[in-house]
């Protein structure tokens, strides 16, 4: 079963995709790599980042080193997070 989540884009990702936020349909259970594939398929411009972005769900970083299971429910917020440069 799928669900609707809000996806938000920042910095270089926002410039490439052309918007701050959008709606995204995702399966309620999928792996991290499958999730990235869905994003890259819907937002091809992100390919320019050459996979140099990670993801956060409801403001918690998703583990990007393993290929962990990600579980979504409707209304979740998914953030596309390019390499950071604060401080």
């Amino acid at each position: 079963m799928g669900c609707e989540v809000r996806v938000v884009f920042f910095a270089a990702a926002k410039e490439l995709v052309g918007c701050r936020e959008a709606s995204l349909s995702v399966p309620s259970r999928l792996s991290f790599s499958e999730l990235k594939d869905i994003l890259l398929e819907k937002y091809e411009a992100l390919k320019i980042l050459e996979s140099n972005f990670i993801l956060a769900k409801n403001q918690e970083y998703l583990d990007f080193e393993g290929d962990a299971l990600v579980v979504f429910k409707s209304g979740d917020e998914l953030a596309v997070i390019p390499p950071i440069s604060g401080g």
Binding site: Q59, S85, G86
Partner: protein, 143 residues
């Protein structure tokens, strides 16, 4: 107390110092980052900061929790400016007060390291030749 501040306003450094002072503390240590006029000899005309604000505030709070688990600290203030920051102005400020100096000195250094590694804030430099560049921290684990 933890003071977390993410703002487009100019950072008020004296005010931040005053927020962490306390008669029970003998030490106030700080780190302030300002925007530089050069990047590898290229003159910088403007810097812009963007943040995932809700998550950044949460991440700064997590850093405070981590600091307090390592050292006995009194007040911690972590502030970051967003939007356009003119060259020479403050982009980040960390103030920590403690009874003795060792803990606040150590905590300030650990705090800025952790901020650069984990807080979702981005900096874009605009150069005098019209080019621009989204910077990437060496501390960032995904780059």
């Amino acid at each position: 107390m933890n003071h977390i501040l993410i703002t487009e306003q100019r950072l008020n450094i004296p005010d931040m110092y005053n927020k962490v002072r306390d008669p029970s503390c003998g030490a106030i240590s700080s780190f302030v980052g300002t925007t530089r006029d050069l990047f590898n000899d290229k003159p910088v005309v403007k810097l812009e900061y963007e943040a995932y604000i809700g998550m950044a505030e949460k991440a700064l709070g997590d850093i405070c929790k981590q600091l307090r688990s390592q050292w006995p600290l009194h007040h911690i203030l972590m502030a970051h400016r967003l939007g356009s920051v003119p060259v020479g102005e403050e982009s980040v400020a960390i103030f920590v007060s403690s009874v003795h100096r060792a803990e606040s000195l150590a905590a300030v250094s650990a705090a800025i390291d952790a901020l650069k590694a984990s807080v979702p804030i981005w900096k874009k430099e605009l150069y005098s030749d019209g080019s621009s560049n989204w910077k990437v921290n060496a501390e960032c684990a995904w780059k």
